[in-house]
């Protein structure tokens, strides 16, 4: 697959265990950074009631939604069982300290 990489900004501008927003014509996308400095991108909308995931607490490879505390896997966008649901996830990469995103949704098998 040939992704169409778009420049997001400096990796250092995303706080550890935190996130930043990317505004797109198609809605907000949240970019998360874990304690291990991995990054992930999810649509900023919880599968439960569209809570803004970018505002949640990040731990391990998960984020807990600020509205009703669902936990979402950062790598797949799937809700942690026993909750069910999925939010779109997007490919991201870091190159020379700069973060890039592709707006072609990743495929997740449910």
């Amino acid at each position: 697959m040939s992704e169409n990489w778009l420049k997001v900004g400096k990796f250092d501008d995303i706080p550890k265990l935190g996130s930043r927003l990317v505004k797109t014509a198609d809605g907000d996308i949240a970019i998360f950074r874990t304690s291990e400095d991995e990054i992930f991108a999810l649509r900023d909308s919880c599968p439960h009631k569209q809570g803004p995931l970018s505002q949640g607490i990040v731990y391990g490879k998960k984020v807990s939604c600020p509205l009703h505390d669902w936990k979402i896997h950062l790598d797949t966008g799937l809700a942690v069982a026993p909750d069910e649901g999925c939010t779109a996830s997007f490919p991201v990469k870091i190159d020379a300290g700069i973060v890039y995103i592709s707006l072609d949704e990743k495929k997740t098998e449910e």
Binding site: P15, L21, K23, A25, S35, G51, P52, Q55, I57, G60
Partner: protein, 811 residues
């Protein structure tokens, strides 16, 4: 190569220990389990319901063979370990096979005591301990008629009830004049006996058996007085004895049980022991709750974390005979220094006795209505001083104005479709199904699987009751020491203590030092740790904003649509025309969608977009406003009434007092939200008596009230004391707040905190001991030096700008 761990005894305590080890150190050991019984681990407690035909064997399996396989455990069933070569580190089984170990865990349980009567070896004479015994009883019930149970204790009565349910004609022979003498006093034992008689059981009290007669199978039981009774089945339920056969053969030190220390090690440090076979500080146990506590500690040491200590347990008992409610705990006979509080209503079959010493419950017996059993048991284990509610304690917790707890009957009667958890919309049926299907034992498990009680927590009592009703037995008693969350085994108190003692000053340090089980905690423990560190090291700790819930991270309250609300402080609820004009102007300039006057006497701007927060704060700041902390586990509002300045009943200047208190306390981070109010007379227009700290003015000065809240469960304050001067009000207030800040668990509001520690405990520190009070107040004031910076002004000036701006906009 992995080290080898061998478990002898495939029962409840042993396997629970393995489960705990796997959680802590999944890859540390190569594990082998030897079990004499031909089954994988099952729930022994549930043998009684199986016998009574209420459950099947399949339903009571706890870990099936697949579980052992999935966890890489070698399970050897039907094999008995007969000796241990402690020099070569090997166990030897009855077929001569040998197996070496690096660490050995003995959990051989106990054996029923079989009285040395003539005829005890006849067919049809059995104990009540395992599946095999139950099979024999069920088989006998289909072929024969008469059963005799020797022993009127817990097990004997459950066996008798089960056999009766299977259609047998059952007589219970008991040596003493009182049934269940270890659990019941005279009055309750009598009530129990008559209701069992009503159901058809027969009793021979103060009766001794002399012999069991028969050729091949038992035919008769002969009593001391010569009477002979027909008997086709004899169940001996006269007690259990720790099974120390193996330990003795291996020359491990045993007295009644295998002697272990606080880390569950035997006299051979490579050999651990847990469960009923163990003797710890001269005690042996016969119920699972304490055994599971042992398992937890033992696993911690096997996993080489080496922190926990087992310090013994207090236990409570319930009889698992459907339809009979009975509860007992602790020392219910008392001694020369104790007193009895008794409630007895024979007509309605209700009896309650509490044994009290130094105003603390040391024992409890309840019959007929056991709704409050778990409450009394909590008070007993927490050693709560009951002085404050001693007069009403026998009427139960509901009488304290605290509804929604421990109402077993009400919960049992609820329809399956009744909603238990309002937050997550979970009904009773779903919870019960999850508990049985997933074999859940603890509140945490239920939360994980069903989400019930995972949000506001107000249904916790109901969920615990459902657990108790569904799982039965002593599972109602969750282990005393609840860990802070799933990321650690340590309790809130242990974590707070360790932070102080070991001078831990960052979240990372705490997690590393206390060996957190997850790489960076979770959304539950991180905010807690952040607060504990803020409180412990006010001048040094650097706040970790990523460990704060969104509201506190961005200093505004998130709304359902993702916008925020902004509530500036309005000291003591008083304002001026100038302030109001400024607020109006700002609201208009920023096109604030909704302006609301709040229940806390403040003005709320709702519907603010996150990126606009700093700008609106900048304007508020210029007009002299600071953050109202309406979003935080922090000091919220101080409500006041107009008091003596205007009101014809006012006795003191309550408004000024409120303003002073708010200026003193604002900005302080707390374990939960903290609200104050000051009323100018006992008419109490500021509602001071449902606040965390309430002040009510009287002619002679000020009354101080603590521990109130509104919310789902309203609790009125307790009166703490009366003082005369303004300075005293401030000192008492500061001291009370600091005591609460430094001892309560994170997310425990003052109301449940006071119910846990007792008002007397608080008074001893704040009222009776001037020195302690001064010390606490000084600590509070010291920490305030570092917390009274307006977070809004700082953010308007650019702090944390990344929180309020997207990293990029591609629109």
């Amino acid at each position: 190569m992995k080290e080898k761990l061998v478990l002898v005894g495939n029962g409840m305590a042993g396997v629970r220990t393995l489960e705990e080890v796997l959680k802590l150190a999944p890859d540390m050991y190569e594990i082998t389990v030897f079990g004499e019984e031909p089954y994988p681990n099952y729930n022994r407690i549930m043998l009684s319901p199986v016998l009574a035909g209420e459950k099947t064997i399949e339903e009571i399996t706890l870990n099936d063979r697949q579980w052992y396989e999935d966890n890489g455990i070698k399970l050897v069933t039907g094999k008995k370990v007969t000796n241990i070569d402690r020099i070569k580190h090997k166990v030897i089984a009855d077929d001569g096979s040998e197996h070496s170990y690096d660490r050995l865990l003995i959990a051989t349980g106990s054996k029923p005591i079989i009285l040395p009567l003539p005829g005890k070896d006849l067919k049809g004479v059995i104990g009540f301990r395992d599946i095999h015994d139950v099979d024999l009883m069920l088989e006998a019930s289909t072929k024969y008629k008469n059963a005799i149970v020797i022993g009127g204790g817990l097990l004997g009565l459950e066996a008798a009830n089960g056999l009766m349910q299977q259609g047998m004609n059952v007589t219970v022979i008991h040596l003493l004049d009182r049934l269940m003498e270890k659990q019941l006093d005279d009055a309750s034992a009598k009530m129990l006996k008559s209701s069992l008689e009503e159901r058809g059981l027969k009793f021979l009290m103060e009766t001794q058996t002399e012999a069991i007669l028969g050729k091949n199978r038992v035919e008769k039981v002969k009593l001391k007085d010569g009477t002979e009774l027909d008997a086709d089945l004899v169940v001996m339920a006269v007690g259990i004895r720790p099974n120390v056969d193996l330990a003795k053969t291996a020359k491990l030190h045993t007295i009644r049980g295998i002697v272990v220390n606080d880390t569950l090690q035997t006299y051979d440090p490579r050999v651990y022991a847990v469960g009923e076979c163990v003797e710890h500080r001269s005690n042996t146990y016969g119920l699972v709750a304490p055994l599971f506590e042992m398992s937890k500690v033992c696993a911690n040491h096997l996993a080489k974390h080496g922190i926990g200590m087992y310090q013994g347990s207090v236990t409570s008992t319930k009889l698992k005979v459907t339809g009979i409610d009975l509860f007992s705990a602790g020392d219910f006979f008392g001694n020369e220094n104790s007193e009895d509080l008794v409630y007895q209503d024979e007509a309605s079959g209700v009896y309650r006795k509490l044994v009290v010493q130094n105003n603390r419950i040391i024992g409890a017996v309840m019959y007929g209505d056991t709704i409050d059993g778990s409450w009394y048991f909590d008070l007993l284990r927490d050693e709560t001083d009951i002085t404050d509610f001693r007069k009403t304690i026998l009427f139960g917790q509901a009488h304290l104005g605290d509804s929604g707890h421990g109402e077993d009957d009400r919960v049992a009667l609820m329809a399956d479709t009744a909603e238990i958890c309002g937050c997550n919309g979970i009904c009773k049926g779903e919870i019960v199904k999850a508990i049985t299907k997933e074999k859940l034992f603890t509140l945490e498990d239920v939360r994980l699987h069903t989400k019930a009680s995972n949000s506001c927590g107000s249904c916790t009592g109901l969920v615990e009751t459902l657990l108790a009703l569904t799982v039965g037995g002593d599972y109602s008693v969750a282990p005393h020491l609840k860990p802070m969350c799933g990321c650690t085994d340590f309790t809130h108190d242990e974590v707070r203590g360790t932070i102080k003692r070991n001078e831990l000053k960052t979240i990372r340090n705490v997690m590393d030092f206390m060996e957190w089980k997850t790489p960076d905690g979770c959304g539950k423990c991180r905010p807690g740790l952040n607060f504990y560190l803020t409180c412990a090291w006010p001048d040094e700790y650097v706040d970790d904003s990523q460990s704060r819930f969104i509201n506190e991270r961005v200093h505004a309250n998130i709304q359902k649509d993702g916008t925020y609300s902004v509530i500036p402080r309005m000291w003591g609820g008083e304002t001026t025309p100038k302030e109001l004009i400024a607020l109006g102007q700002i609201a208009e300039n920023h096109k604030v969608p909704t302006v609301h006057v709040t229940g806390g006497q403040r003005i709320d701007f709702l519907g603010i977009k996150k990126e606009n927060l700093p700008a609106i704060w900048g304007d508020l700041s210029k007009a002299g406003f600071v953050s109202g902390h309406a979003y935080g586990k922090a000091v919220r509002t101080v409500k006041t009434c107009v008091g003596s300045e205007w009101c014809r009943f006012g006795t003191q200047n309550s408004t000024q007092m409120g303003i002073d208190l708010e200026k003193m306390t604002w900005g302080s981070w707390m374990p939960h939200k903290f609200k104050l109010a000051v009323s100018g007379c006992p008419r109490n227009c500021a509602e001071a008596t449902i606040k965390d700290f309430g002040v009510v003015a009287v002619d002679s000065g000020w009354e101080l009230h603590v521990g109130g809240n509104g919310g789902v469960k309203v609790r009125a304050t307790d009166f703490m004391c009366a003082v005369t001067t303004t300075d005293e009000v401030k000192e008492y207030c500061a001291a009370f707040m600091q005591l609460y800040r430094s001892e309560a668990h994170y997310l425990e509001r003052t109301a449940p905190w006071i119910e846990r520690v007792g008002l007397t405990y608080v008074k001893e520190r704040i009222v009776d001991d001037a020195e302690k009070r001064k010390k606490f107040a000084e600590e509070f004031w010291f920490s305030q030096k570092f917390s009274q910076d307006d977070p809004w002004k700082a953010r308007a000036e650019g702090v944390d700008a990344h929180e309020y701006t997207p990293i990029v906009s591609m629109v």
